[in-house]
Amino acid sequence: MGFLNAVLLFGAASLAVPLIIHLLNRSKFQVLDWGAMHLLQAAELQNSRRIQWQSILLLLIRCGIPLLLAICMARPILTAWQIAGGGNSAIAFVLDDSYSMQANSLQATDGVSSFKTATDNLNNIASSLGRSTQVSVITLGGQPKSLLDGSTFDSRLVRRRVESLQAEQGPIQPIAAFELAGRQLINSSQPQRQVVILSDFQKSDWSKITNESFVAFQNAFKDLPVKPRITLMPIRSQPTENLQATIDATFSEVIGVEDPLDVRATIHNWSTQPAKSARIIFQVDDVDIAAKNIDIPAQSDVQVLFGCKFDTAGEHRAVVRVEEVSPIQADNIAALPIYVLEKLSVLLVEPVAVQETLQAETGFLELALQMQGAAGRNDGWLQTKRVQADALTEQMVKQANVIVVANVPRLSDQAASWIENRVKEGAGLLLFIGAKTDREWFNQRWSPQGAAAVLPFRYAEPQTTDVAAIASAPAGQPSQTDATSNDTSTPKPASLHIASGPYNHPALALFNRPEQGRLDQVTVRSWVRLTPWSSDKSTEVVEASDQKSNNLPKQESQTSSASQTPNTDESGASVALFSNGDTFLAQKQFGKGTVVQCATSANDAWTNMPLRPAFVPLIQRLVIGMVQPPKVIDSNANSSESNLELMNKQELESLATIMGAQIQESTTEFLDTAKLQSTGREIWRWVLLALVIFLFSELLLEKRLTRGGR
């Protein structure tokens, strides 16, 4: 026997009220001088016992009414009475498997993680509730998913699946997890449904649920006939220090053999206590190369620099690892993929052979590629070869890792075919426009309808901001008239710049930090508008291409999601834009190779880009990026997961209020409540019935005693 609202039992004290009224009534009477006392005495003698019995009964009934009312409101549960169907219920466990759950649990012995405690609690509950409980498990970290592909009554299956889980997911997505739990529960035919959330309630994760997101939370269970009972089961972790290692690189590095490489790692101390002599180890291909002991102040960053070289070409892996007893192992390691190439051959194709380097179309490119880069690569690793378009041979094309075509009017069909084949095999193709370029030839040859769909975007009309150039411009030269003829209402900018970041393309990501160079300082006087191939088609086709663009490969989707609104084609995508929104760089995959299309010249004829400091790293990274597509470094240990600050009691209670949930600190507490609610029978209805009977009895007895003689 138990009570859901035991506090209301204090209302039973009101049974004293009828008792007091009864006693007060007994002391109050009127006085009457009466003659026929002999008749009165006889009547009293006859009825004294009955009167006494009825008075006591009436008193008991009157005392029983407030008592029953108090019991009824306290919602009594009869636990000894197993209801028909037992404790049939569906329970959806929402299990936090984010990295923060790797912290040591406060509720268990040393060395046991919060996640292990959570899974133990889950298994205990699942096995204790018995076979009549339908269980589903939703993992909360990263992308929420159902662990059991539905739900099951088999607690052993639940145990097996849960024990195979690891806390290796990123930040949680509570609303998505609740929606999934809601879908699991709605498929259940069990009368009672509940959701149990097993989490450390990390502040950075759970502060996402606010009053504003309450509607979304409600919607997660809107299809259920009755909102499930939600239980928060906090798994408290021990307050401890946590160091997180990250490498300052967004993409993998490509270097040459014996090229020196500096790997810069940042170690963040999330603890409120300073970390003394934290040992940082640098590994290359699982071999310890160097180690450093550093002191890290509380909640601060310390950068560590390691250098290395590679004597063999191929794919390598550099790792910075914090050697400490850290609660979260995942964020102790930061890895950097490194590609080492023997040499990189770049074929620079220009319209005419010019001796003076800076007069040639590809002179600036050659200088940039031969200049020792920021990574400090050895000279000779990146080999360039300038060649006139007419002198191009198949051998040259086959030996090139990257082919740069700058301001070439047109290629012979044979040369074009060699280049197409080479790019298909995996080479890179970098296209620069210029005054001599026959745009129509390229648009026909390398369009989707042409011999090969090499071009990411179509070369459209040339544009310029230089008035003098317009006056002397021959046919095909950029002209302001041409540029403005289509849109006279749009004011021409005084000077055109490359739009500022952030940039998502690996070659441009460097410029997200202004100290590495600023692309937005590049001024462009003339350019050719690059338009997607789909703009030539009907509206329907454009819409279709937009839909297809949503299905682009991941890398392309990422590169297209620049800060500017990029134009995307069926296969091409804008990589960078001008400040007026026109495309500066476009890229597409052609076969195994990559094609990058630039909207302006490679020399200083149309732009001051070759004269800017950003030109060298831009060209080097573009060329290297085309040889081996860089990998995006996926930082598994999200910094928010490394911050082990948990919600305090007030915040947790506030969260429970928002969610309409109750907090159960332990499995025992949960099972006790579950026993009351699932295996017990609420008998308040019977008490209410008894109360009604008492009320009617009181009425009848009162009428019998008080009004019966009238």
């Binding site: 009127q30 009457l32 006859q46 009167i51 008080t706 003689g709």
Partner: protein, 300 residues
């Protein structure tokens, strides 16, 4: 004390003056009246013949019969005489009850007025009427007389009677019985709050003395309906120490049942003994009650 002149209103006098009380039984009176007398005398009503004996008056011999039978017979006639009525009025404490509001007519007032009407009636018929008042014992007694001036004495005594003491009705009647020697009518006006059995036994003594017994049992409506609901302390009007706190609703049924049994027992006993029992309550008009009773009683 009630003013004796107020005991009989003009309406009462007018209504009672038209009534005539006839005795049901043979009564002994001193004067010629409307009631049959056990004594034979001069009268227009022939009763019987009897054989002449020495000493009889010669003038009472029926000569016509002597001529026919040659024997001397004396002609005897029914003698009519006056009625001797004794009014026995209860002035015990219980007769003081005048309702729970305390503003009604008390049973004693009713009894006194009824007795006054009866006295007026009998005096008006030239019948002798006497009066006895009692509570625990006989408090006063005026023997029956038929002088008109006797009425004022009766009324004065009625007016001066005061309630108090316990009722010992059977004892009182036993005391009164020797005083009522001649045959007559004994009219008891009381609430008869005594044991029915002993009361009836005492009344039997009066009957054996050839008295016609009439009982006017006076009730107050409260005693018949018991109209009490709230918790009440009942204090006895006859015995101050006797008091009870009772929830009236709890015993109403039993009370009314006891009342019915008591009334039934008294009624049955009276019928058995040919005693006239007239229940009356204080709401009624005593003169109307009297008129109604006499009309039903008729000529005995």
């Amino acid at each position: 004390m009630t003013d004796s002149t107020k005991l009989l209103s003009a309406e009462d006098r007018d209504r009672v003056a038209r009534l005539q009380w006839y005795a049901r039984q043979v009564v002994e009176g001193l004067t010629v009246g409307t009631h049959r007398s056990p004594h034979k005398g001069f009268s227009v009503e022939f009763k019987e013949h009897r054989q002449y004996v020495r000493g009889d008056e010669i003038r009472s011999i029926d000569w016509k019969l002597f001529g026919k039978t040659d024997r001397l017979y004396i002609r005897q006639y029914e003698e009519e005489t006056n009625l001797r009525a004794t009014l026995v009025v209860d002035q015990s404490g219980s007769m003081k009850y005048k309702g729970h509001q305390g503003d009604g007519v008390s049973k004693h007032d009713f009894a006194v007025r009824l007795a006054a009407c009866l006295a007026y009636l009998f005096v008006g018929q030239h019948d002798a009427v006497g009066l006895a008042t009692f509570d625990t014992t006989v408090q006063s007694y005026i023997p029956p007389r038929n002088r008109p001036s006797h009425l004022s004495g009766l009324l004065t005594m009625l007016a001066s009677s005061e309630c108090g003491g316990e009722t010992r009705l059977s004892d009182v009647i036993n005391l009164l019985a020797p005083k009522i020697r001649r045959r007559g009518v004994v009219i008891l006006i009381s609430d008869c709050f005594d044991e029915a059995e002993s009361l009836l036994r005492s009344l039997s003594f009066l009957q054996h003395a050839h008295n016609d017994v009439v009982i006017f049992q006076v009730w107050h409506p409260d005693e018949l309906t018991f109209p009490f609901y709230s918790r009440t302390q009942f204090r006895s009007l006859e015995k101050a120490s006797d008091q009870k706190v009772i929830d009236p609703h709890q015993i109403r049924k039993a009370y009314l049942s006891n009342l019915d049994k008591y009334r039934q027992a008294l009624s049955d006993g009276c019928k058995q003994r040919r005693i006239s029992l007239i229940p009356c309550n204080t709401d009624q008009s005593h003169s109307s009650l009297l008129a109604s009773f006499i009309s039903q009683r008729g000529i005995g």
